[in-house]
Symmetry: D3
Subunit: 318 residues, 6 copies
């Protein structure tokens, strides 16, 4: 087994063009050949407090280079596994965003996810605000049904308010409406947010399993993951504000009392062991609100590990 250190370039993390994990860049979406395809969705007009998530894809890409220097895979001494060895990643670049036009921007995001699916690659979309989950889920129209695993501070279950149906407070309500979404598990939900009591009642009525950070913490990560319906395919949507602002301050609507790093990592590691993953999005990283870069690093570290777990599990996707 050879790796980059023995020949060729040293490729220190601060060098080179910033694609996700230094993966090849493929702007021709009809020619994707990959196990996972990373798509940027730099849309943040759905935000209700701070914007800035439009720079999320760039921030996460740059941070990902810290985890990608010259290894053939990533060795984890705790698991004694070298992850991602042989996994083909490709960076699709970003969906085209049209300012002032939510519908067109969302349509362009959907097209990207569809292209990844068409190529048989796992779509991994980096937001952008959480509204970009709406076209991500819509891209699965006509495909096999799945369950949504949401990691988030906010329920995002507003149906409509002042005519808004595609803002960052609406995506889980939009998902729940889809025939191909069989249910939701919503973890990390806490404190007040744009979702009022009615939204919670609506979500529960539609079968959502809602756990706060404290409720998930009382369970252990394994038990939390075990609340997912057994063996069903899952789509994972991660709002970075699910995490404690201590490690994820660079986001639109921070909420204290969030998850710590290993809590989420272990829930995900447990979940993907027994559930095929049909898609992933990670949203609401707003790098300009975090001068230390911790938030982007968190997003990149989490995604890299999650991808490692998914492909190590090797479950067939429907």
């Amino acid at each position: 087994m050879s790796h980059g250190y023995e020949s060729g370039r040293l490729n220190l993390p601060f060098t080179g063009i910033c694609t996700f994990a230094r993966a090849p860049y493929q702007p021709d979406w009809s020619s994707l050949q990959a196990d996972a395809a990373i798509l940027g969705a730099p849309f943040d007009a759905g935000t209700q407090w701070r914007a800035g998530a439009r720079f999320g894809p760039r921030g996460v890409r740059e941070a990902s280079t810290l985890f990608s220097f010259g290894h053939a895979g990533a060795y984890d001494h705790e698991d004694d596994v070298t992850y991602l060895d042989g996994v083909r990643l490709v960076d699709m670049g970003d969906a085209d965003i049209v300012h002032t036009d939510t519908v067109t921007s969302h349509a362009n995001i959907r097209r990207g996810v569809e292209a990844a699916l068409a190529a048989g690659a796992l779509p991994v979309t980096i937001g952008g605000d959480h509204s970009i989950n709406i076209p991500c889920i819509e891209a699965y129209e006509g495909r096999a049904p799945f369950h949504v695993l949401q990691i988030d501070a906010h329920l995002d279950f507003v149906d409509e308010r002042h005519g808004v149906t595609r803002g960052h407070g609406n995506p889980m309500r939009r998902a729940a409406e889809k025939p191909w979404v069989t249910g939701l598990t919503q973890l990390g939900i806490r404190n007040v947010s744009s979702t009022a009591r009615e939204g919670y009642e609506d979500a529960r009525a539609r079968g959502s399993d809602i756990l706060s950070v404290r409720q998930a913490r009382k369970l252990d990560p394994e038990a939390t993951a075990a609340r997912l319906p057994e063996g069903v395919p899952i789509y994972i949507t991660i709002d970075i504000d699910a995490f404690c602002p201590s490690i994820a301050p660079g986001t639109g609507t921070p909420s204290h009392g969030g998850f710590l790093y290993y809590e989420v990592l272990e829930i995900l590691q447990n979940a993907v062991k027994s559930h095929p993953v049909v898609g992933i999005d990670l949203v609401e990283v707003a790098p300009d609100y975090d001068p230390t870069g911790s938030t982007s690093i968190l997003a990149a570290q989490l995604l890299m590990n999650l991808l490692g777990f998914v492909f190590h599990a090797g479950l067939p996707r429907p």
Copy 2:
């Protein structure tokens, strides 16, 4: 002549609720009684690079308190004038913004400007991105015609692109279409931007007088102001990126080579001596991109002085 220092509170700038210039807050727009009415228009979904202008009104309001501590008017030793003494300012608060919905947000801004006009007050709108100039100008529908004086780095004369007509690259084109806009003087325009060659040709064909920073600088401020059609009423729209990024880094699309402080101040001081001012907007202050606060302070200092000049000139508005 008494002022606040002799009785009552000292009111240091860092104390108190942040309305513009510590003016009274009047959320009931049907009850405005003022010479000038300040309206926040925190909409930034029209941006093509950085967002963040949604926090412009808050930033400018807070900075304005630095210039408002306990004086009855503001004494300027160079002019030997105490400005703003007896001028009634009121802060209307902000127009209601609906995320993902440009048309409704713009309509709400228009309603605010209309309310100020209906009350006989000079409307002073703080953006938000430059697209908010579109509803500001629309609010004058049915009123006396006027000329637009734009201070900006960018021509903002894109007609339509990918369907976008109300983004921050479109406002001057939108203004030029209005029957009640008699012409434009566009100062500070420089370097590449979203407006291509066609936009410049279109603007000139519609009668725009376009000067770059260097061109305006070769004239002096008086001569620059003299290029305005003589004596016509003017609407002043100031994009903070007209200024050099050295003093206005906190903006969406900074452009090097911009105006310095006194260059703009003196153009404006000269212009308003002989042209009635029918409205003002100041846009594109994005405070979160300026950790020193210089940009917000610039905007507040400029607006305070401009208002002083306008009311000192005392020209009747049409």
Copy 3:
């Protein structure tokens, strides 16, 4: 039950004038009509390391708008309670501060708290540095006695040093001297500080119950709250540096090893269930030392929840 989303304005958090929780602003302190009255006390000349707490009231007010958009009360799904529904909050603005003059500034703060008390409202004072607790406590002269619950990294029990008696290292010593203060419970105290061994001995001699973060953590929040004398009225003073710098870096004298969010929230929630609250202050938020805004958001989130708990408990104040 109607709320703002169904009619009127959407009032996104980034819009509008920043009073605390968008409460009405009432600068006429003789006309307060409220259940709780918020007073800013932007005095920071009592600090021994970084200043900047003078901008605490503004920072907390702005952050509080994030938790106040259009709801009639705040629904908490963990407690299944809608808090603050029907509770009347009013923002009194700030006490007048006179630079270089600690005594006068403190007197002005005292006058504000007295006004709130006279109106029958719960005084909630936002500092400023911890020295502002001194006039807050003095304002209760002649009223029913109470116990002080302090959440803080530092004991603040210095009697006098180099003539200083009203700095931010003195407030708990000042409180302990008052006939109307029956005792102190001091939680979160850790590491070295301006209080030497003598101060601890003095505090214990005067009946203080002192617990470090680790000591409080070994108890659970309920047991910690249970150390308060049973059923007595309490005044709560929260120094934001009680919290871990990971979530509260924007403060004058950060100290590692502090409380996490839920630890304090749950101590307070337990405490106010069985102890009437006669007053609250929250101090030492210095927003300019926290570019991410986490500290102000923490303060606002904590105060909003604490007020919710207090009024939900509904205990009569003496």
Copy 4:
């Protein structure tokens, strides 16, 4: 002529303990042996907007190391002079500051300046806010009279307001009262400030020569310096906010339209050629408000050059 590069240490600027210009530290003020003695005066309780000037001495000291690496003097190719070669600098450390106590803090600053004077060294005091000029000037009681050259955005000529006489708006009024101050030249004064019209009239009545930035700019630096009374000894007080916020954003009360670097440098260079300098202070550097460090670098670069000019002129002090 040997210098540090040829033997011993390389002493790169980022290494070593931060005294001013790497000068020896002498905390025993009775043993000063130096041509110039640098004193820190980290007092900022006299501020009316942002504090933070308490960290001015540290900021300027650290920045000064950038200009001090291993040279025996500083070669300036434009003047073809090696400045400061053989000049003995000493760093006295800081005056002791007592929080909440302006009078004692000022007395301690005065004691430091007196010690420098007693040792025959030129006192160079780094603030702190501009109120620290008050004890600096008081330290000359009983010594030969001198003229004050002020470089500042603000007139600082408030006599008394709400009882405040030693805040940062008062120093020039305090100086003008002293029998040993023969007059003031006040350069850079602009825009509104805490000094109202009465202050200007008072200053002029007491013989002040007041020039705005634009007025000084119309003259050239030589002509500006020539307005000083011929040949009289001068005390130089530099408020960093005299400069444009583009290069000095890290200050308490920034004011746009300020001086650029060479404008001030050349006024000073001209002034000290024919006027003995009896003392210098530089105030209002608040490093925490300038994340780029430009303001501290400006202060250090200016002081280093000014000291070079003063000792190169070699005029005997009275």
Copy 5:
């Protein structure tokens, strides 16, 4: 003439992978087909104050996207020219850097420049610190001689000190030694630096023409450019610290009193009209020291315009 706005993507500046000016990325240096080839040289171990220039290539690349959205060339209304239309740019990525090993890192940079030259492309290298100019110049070994035009605050003419010959204080001395370098024009040099008097004498003895900012300013840009030997090919090396820290604070060793934007732009525009350009480097951008991004934007804006001028002049390279 079609451009991107009429079909395909809108490509707003905040979208997409960050190559320089969105040019194609070509990591295979044996297959370069371009008029100009951009190479990153992220080496900063040659710095004597702040590091951070290793992130210069990334910072400048990202900023360059602001100037590259969908145009076929960049229209400049002052010159009435559409620049860069049809010019083929390619981004080579970065030279491989080996930490702790200056010689190997420099060799890798040299290899990149050689590859560009071999392909007939104009090499444009983005540093990194100024030491990267050393391998850039070395890459021309065996090629036609040229003159070096340096824009910089510092002379960088140290021969050797403590054994260091390839630090960021040495490059111009290294260049002057090369047989293929016919002379140097050094513009912007000011204030003290690591070059002592001996370095200036050495430079002048080797034929350097040294002008300070003030000296160049007294000439006009045309006259300054006219000091270059007539018609000779030039290599342009731009240290961003030549500029005033007001617009370029994000650099290792800022020096006040620097050039403003148009001063440098016009010198360059004049110079390249009559001198073929054989290579360009731009160094010392350290983005992490400029939270506003102004410095990276300046570098990108300058490079884009300079490339426009070079290819518009169309002079044949030797």
Copy 6:
């Protein structure tokens, strides 16, 4: 027992020259008289991601003044001990660093540690990047053997790669080679890093005991410390990135999932009770990447407490 509060200066933390803990500065390394000698090692050319640790010594020194104001020792109420009372600290200043020359810079650091050892003082070295541990360990050549206790996110066990043997990924491998190093305990190691699987195998083969954060957390601090070989002398090397980025974002290569404050403090407190400490280094603090200052404060708070524990234990060094 007298202390500074009763006479002399108040010495607030923001005043005075920044030596470590306000200890006397002794640049003459042949005259050290101290129990512990603090040495700065501002070398960061060994970094693979962000540099900036060159400012670590300055950052930690300044932060240390927060913990050093006028006490004779530091009273800890949890332990009821006054630490550091009577312990003589001295600040040696910094080792001389030569840019571009790793070997010479390391040699200078070694010379400093040797000087401290020769004087019988405990060497405490503040980095700089982790490569500075290499000369620190080399300085013990010829002295009694010891065990290394490493607190770190990364194993740092790379032997050689692209010729690099003295970068910040190599120190533990270098240490393990030394005859006077008897073994390593490596705590906090997690996630991917520059050490590949081979490095782990090599480390274990050489007898390393490697624990991740989660593994150490499952043990308690006492049990973790108990894994050290019984009673052997230890050298402690602390990489600040061992800690969670929530409290230590200001570092070169942050890694989520790190230790919290008390976890490390208690491991160290337990370890030094029964193991003589022969030396300490603390590395990778890069203050410019932490605008809140938390990282420097953490480093200073940890070192102050660790030194207190070491001298309170009073174990004889070999």
